[in-house]
């Protein structure tokens, strides 16, 4: 019995006492959105950032609302999100500083091939009005994410109230892919970022049940920006490391790398830092 006990205690000690942080170098904590993380862009940029600056980029992928909250609570050092209206308010309130636009991709409205409301090729406001009048099923993220905020602004632009309590409006409260799956299940229209759609289509061998019906509209623009968490609001935040990151991501070489990033063979982002 003693031998086994000692063996187990040894294993437990090793597991408990091994250091959790790689002791070399500094680290920067970022909050970003799940859709950003899912594109794989950060997985490509992080090693480049560490090579160039010696700083390890760590990030947690949550909803936009949560990302902003993490910044407010001083739990992260820098944000990479895509909700310009919310971001500008955020900076105004003093939670974030040094906001810089970094890149954009776009949203698309997708739906079943049968297109019951006949929205294919329409401008966004007309398309949404058609959905509304036909009471066509529409799946929404309903989770205060960047995508969700964009969607709500589109209803607003079309002169309609967000169809909160309508029976044909499904608020999934989940991530983009889950929402797409639910939309496919219910033959619903939905708003999605192109990146998620590319992956979704790929997983269906290029023949998905939902296809792109509305795209290219200026209002479907999805602007990504980087914001440093305010050192005034959060004295312990790693402001200098955040600054290094911001300067790095808007630099010409990195901007070029962003433009060259391919998701399943397709370009996803257009760099637009000034």
């Amino acid at each position: 019995m003693n031998r086994y006990c000692i063996g187990i205690m040894l294993i437990v000690s090793i597991l408990l006492l091994s250091p959790s942080q790689t002791l070399a170098g500094e680290s920067l904590m970022m909050a970003t959105t799940t859709s950003t993380d899912n594109t794989g862009l950060l997985d490509e940029l992080a090693p480049l950032f560490e090579e160039d600056t010696g700083i390890e980029l760590k990030w947690t992928a949550v909803g936009t609302g949560k990302a902003l909250e993490l910044g407010r609570n001083c739990d992260v050092d820098v944000l990479l999100v895509h909700a310009p209206a919310a971001e500008k308010l955020y900076v105004k309130k003093g939670y974030g500083v040094d906001r810089q636009e970094v890149m954009y991709n776009d949203f698309v409205i997708i739906g079943p091939a049968s297109d019951p409301a006949g929205i294919k090729g329409m401008q966004v406001p007309d398309a949404l009005r058609a959905v509304f009048e036909n009471k066509a099923i529409f799946a929404s993220r309903g989770d205060d994410s960047g995508t969700n905020k964009k969607e709500r602004s589109l209803w607003d632009n079309a002169g309609l109230d967000v169809p909160e309590k309508k029976s044909w409006y499904l608020q999934t409260g989940q991530g983009m892919l889950s929402t797409l799956r639910i939309a496919a299940e219910r033959d619903a229209y939905t708003l999605t970022d192109r990146g998620t759609y590319i992956k979704y289509a790929h997983s269906h061998q290029g023949n998905p049940p939902l296809s792109i019906l509305v795209q290219g509209d200026k209002s479907l623009f999805n602007q990504y920006s980087v914001i440093a968490v305010s050192p005034e609001n959060c004295p312990d935040v790693k402001y200098d490391l955040a600054t290094s990151f911001i300067q790095w991501i808007v630099s010409p070489d990195v901007q070029k790398a962003i433009g060259e990033f391919r998701l399943l063979g397709q370009q996803l982002f257009t760099p637009n830092a000034q």
């Binding site: 019995m1 006990c5 597991l15 408990l16 959790s20 904590m29 899912n38 760590k58 609570n73 997983s203």
Partner: protein
């Protein structure tokens, strides 16, 4: 349905090829769950002992509260721990958010009701002749307590196995408090959540099987230990 088979093959492939991310997740899972179960047992067994063995006013009420906490949803525990360890929270200065010890705090809260309730039960059902037997053989108070816990070791071990199972399979706390940071706090369960969200069901199943393999190994170890201390 194909993703079930796909998952099985992928699981073997991940393990055999030594996939870096998978092994990182395995390592993190082992570290976190070991930390959590150790803390849970060190705190929970003495508390369970007090609850089961001693009499004191309010004992029944306390037992009721502990039993109710068995149903504490992990996401809610995650929220509470986040509130505590966030920079704005009371424990903010310890920098526990997005770390393995931070997750462990939450998982200890998860495991404690299990250990406390089941240890208390084990001690309540201990043979009433034990106490006098130990005393008459000359045991002092401390020896009586230790020997009593040892006599109850089988149900307590079962409680530990149950608590470990709950701890190693939870997602809510790891996600909220750990942040699913690759290489650092991505556990097998948070990795499964991520892959499933990305639509990679096969991968999700694969990682699930890896987790079961780990659980099997751990339980095998405990089983052998149980035999040897019979």
């Amino acid at each position: 349905m194909e993703y079930l088979w796909q998952g099985l093959f992928q699981a073997l492939e991940l393990l055999v090829s030594g996939d870096g991310q998978t092994f990182s997740a395995i390592w993190v899972t082992l570290r976190v769950s070991t930390m959590s179960i150790t803390g849970t047992l060190l705190i929970g067994i003495p508390l369970g002992f007090v609850l089961g063995y001693q009499s004191f006013p309010g004992k029944k009420g306390l037992r009721l509260i502990v039993d109710t906490l068995l149903s504490f949803p992990t996401v809610v525990i995650g929220l509470l721990v986040y509130a505590m360890v966030s920079r704005q929270g009371p424990l903010g200065d310890f920098g526990l958010l997005f770390t393995v010890p931070g997750i462990a705090i939450g998982q200890i809260i998860l495991g404690l009701p299990i250990i406390i309730a089941l240890t208390a039960s084990a001690l309540e059902h201990i043979d009433e002749r034990l106490r006098h037997t130990l005393l008459t053989l000359g045991a002092d108070k401390r020896q009586v307590m230790l020997s009593t816990v040892w006599e109850a070791r089988y149900p307590i071990l079962a409680a530990a196995v149950t608590a470990y199972g709950r701890i190693v399979s939870e997602v809510g706390i790891s996600m909220m408090v750990g942040g699913n940071i690759k290489w650092h706090t991505r556990t097998i369960t948070t990795a499964i959540a991520l892959e499933t969200n990305k639509g990679q069901f096969g991968m999700g199943i694969a990682l699930g099987l890896v987790l079961l393999a780990i659980a099997f190994a751990v339980n095998l170890l405990l089983h052998v230990l149980g035999q040897k201390t019979g």
